[in-house]
Assembly symmetry: C2
Homo-oligomer: 387 residues x 2
């Protein structure tokens, strides 16, 4: 887990900057969030002295000036606590719940995420597929999104999508119906809860999965914010399926993000007489997206963690994956039973590590396919990468 | 044109053998039809002597025995004449109307073709696309086939298909509605006219295009005959579009033929909820067929003769195509006007060649994109391969 100072700095910066701010992302490659916040607050001589070290016309210099104008946006400790009392939690790089695949975004990695819901974000997303598409979906598109999400959920594949009407909402409904975990990444803040008509659905998602946003909880969504948000949907998942999209739909932007991350882009065909399938056909015809018609097709294209029996390839060679584990992870793994399940506190005590370490190790082991959650805690995967 | 003896031998053999007989096809690589017919008739010592030269157990020997049993099937001259009086004509390799692209079939090239209709077979097929699909087509599939064929016909692209209900019939109807030429390749004989419910359509096709069959005119279609017939549809055209096909549909067999001939295979997507589009999706997903949604997509994938302005590539390099013409073809080409048009007899007189030679040269020149037919005869193509 990140040190408290660094956590507080990330929270503060998230209220000063826009999601995906490229200047902030670049600056965080060489500075800590605390250092950057000191540049902005400039409350003491240190901040200005640091800033004076920059070329006066640098992009960072200009950005810091902009960020300074918004210092009043940083909420009080009481306000942050109030949001947390409402069930919102912060998930940051370094946390056990942080989905490390977001690190693939490089400079575009979110500063932090606000989450609400019963599921563990990292574990839900380890084996997940994004299902995206038009708000203005047809009955056909909604039917396909529901069926596809439900079939994937039944195979323990997590679903990731946005919070919009149409395909996004259908994907979540299908996942919930299939008894699976689903993650809704909103373009606005979690307390703002846009669009209002989906609030009932958002409650259902929070009850069985995770609501997610990189924006301050009270932020209204902005038009460019939807496109910036799409990078999180594609980075969280192992592949993106576009179910229905008109030409120039925002869903095509998600497909571009997925390609940039070298994650599979898939598209569901539809009638050539439907303008709402034209974007999908364009993806297949002109951009090399893979045509998928069902969950089995999707599973052919995504490599699921720890999957050594046919669907895609294992992330690591099966014979050596266990050899690469560090001694603490091995100690934790040895305390995870094959049958039944064991709680993390019990595993920590048996392995001789503290609870935080045990949770981090379990997250890593789950990401690599060695262990999985069950009703009674944790158990080893029968088809883990070690065979 | 083939010598009379050879023509008569091909006709006789076509009544003794099944379409696409591999033994006959292989034998015709090294022997004339007359020599093979002599083996079969064995009326004189020559036939048996020739046959004795073969290994007794050879495939040809056994085939000749089978063919001998059917000698009674060869129709009388009067019967052949009666068919021709009904508007049927024979088209053979070497004839001016023979579509030379059928020679790409090698040993599987048809012995001969029976044709009926007002259009010239070779010229109709020079720039043609095959549109095939299920008999049990949906309203969606029929709508797409009609619209696609009509749009291609409006761009002077010939349509080639079978004679079945469903997609085949829709393709012809669309081509006729678009004012274009269309070719129906029947699996049975032209006088048999199967299926009966399409006879009205066949009359319309004959009035504006060509009805075609390699079977004797009175032959009933056989189940394997449909698959054998498919090779002609794909070999006549520059690419095959599957509009609607269930898994294991006969249309997939056409797609295989097209691949073997290195002609583009295209498929129209449809709802993933429709079993009648499942074969099309399989072709795109697993067999590399190109997804097409409209006539413009199809034209992107087929190289039309003489097409040097964007749709596919020219069949020959534009700068050298004219240089490769023989002196007689050049003489004929020089008498074909750019504006208006000129009749073949007039072209023959001006070029100093006989009418047959002029017609053969015009056919070759049309196939290479130098000339095209018009209301008043022939004219040079503005966008011919020589620029």
């Amino acid at each position: 887990m990140a040190p408290d100072g660094e956590r507080r700095a990330r929270v503060a910066l998230s209220f000063l900057t826009k999601p995906g701010d490229p200047v902030l992302g670049a600056a965080l490659q060489t500075r800590t969030a605390s250092e950057l916040l000191a540049l902005v607050t400039g409350a003491d001589a240190d901040g200005d002295a640091l800033l004076a070290g920059e070329a006066a016309d640098s992009a960072l210099c200009r950005a810091v000036q902009r960020w300074r104008d918004r210092l009043g946006e940083i909420p009080s400790t009481a306000r942050l606590a109030a949001w947390q009392d409402c069930g919102l939690r912060l998930v940051m790089p370094g946390d056990a719940e942080w989905p490390t695949q977001l690190d693939d975004l490089g400079e575009a990695r979110p500063l932090l995420l606000w989450a609400r819901g019963t599921a563990d974000l990292r574990l839900t997303c380890v084996n997940s597929v994004a299902i995206v598409g038009s708000r203005a979906a047809t009955g056909y598109g909604q039917h396909v999104a529901i069926e596809l999400a439900a079939a994937l959920a039944e195979k323990s594949v997590g679903i990731v999508s946005g919070g919009a009407y149409g395909i996004d909402a259908s994907a979540h409904r299908g996942a919930l119906a299939g008894g699976g975990d689903t993650v809704a990444v909103l373009a606005g803040g979690l307390a703002f809860g846009y669009p209002q008509g989906n609030r009932g659905l958002f409650e259902a998602v929070a009850g069985q999965g995770v609501l997610l946003s990189e924006c301050p909880p009270d932020a209204a969504p902005t038009r460019p914010g939807f496109l910036v948000r799409n990078r999180i949907i594609t980075a969280l998942s192992r592949g993106t399926v576009v179910v229905e999209a008109a030409l120039r739909s925002g869903a095509l932007n998600s497909a571009r993000h997925a390609r940039e991350l070298c994650r599979p882009v898939m598209a569901v065909p539809g009638p050539v007489t439907s303008e709402y399938s034209a974007g999908c056909h364009e993806l297949i015809r002109d951009y090399g997206a893979m045509l998928v018609t069902c969950a089995a097709d999707v599973l052919t294209h995504v490599a699921l963690a720890g999957d050594v029996d046919g669907h895609g390839g294992p992330r690591h060679g099966p014979a050596t994956a266990r050899d690469r584990l560090d001694p603490i992870a091995v100690a934790v793994l040895e305390e995870v039973p094959v049958r039944g399940g064991r709680g993390p506190a019990s595993i920590a005590v048996r392995a001789g590590v503290d609870l935080d370490t045990a949770l981090r190790c379990l997250g890593d082991l789950a990401a690599d396919g060695f262990v999985e959650r069950c009703d009674t805690g944790w158990r080893s995967r029968k088809l883990g990468p070690s065979g």
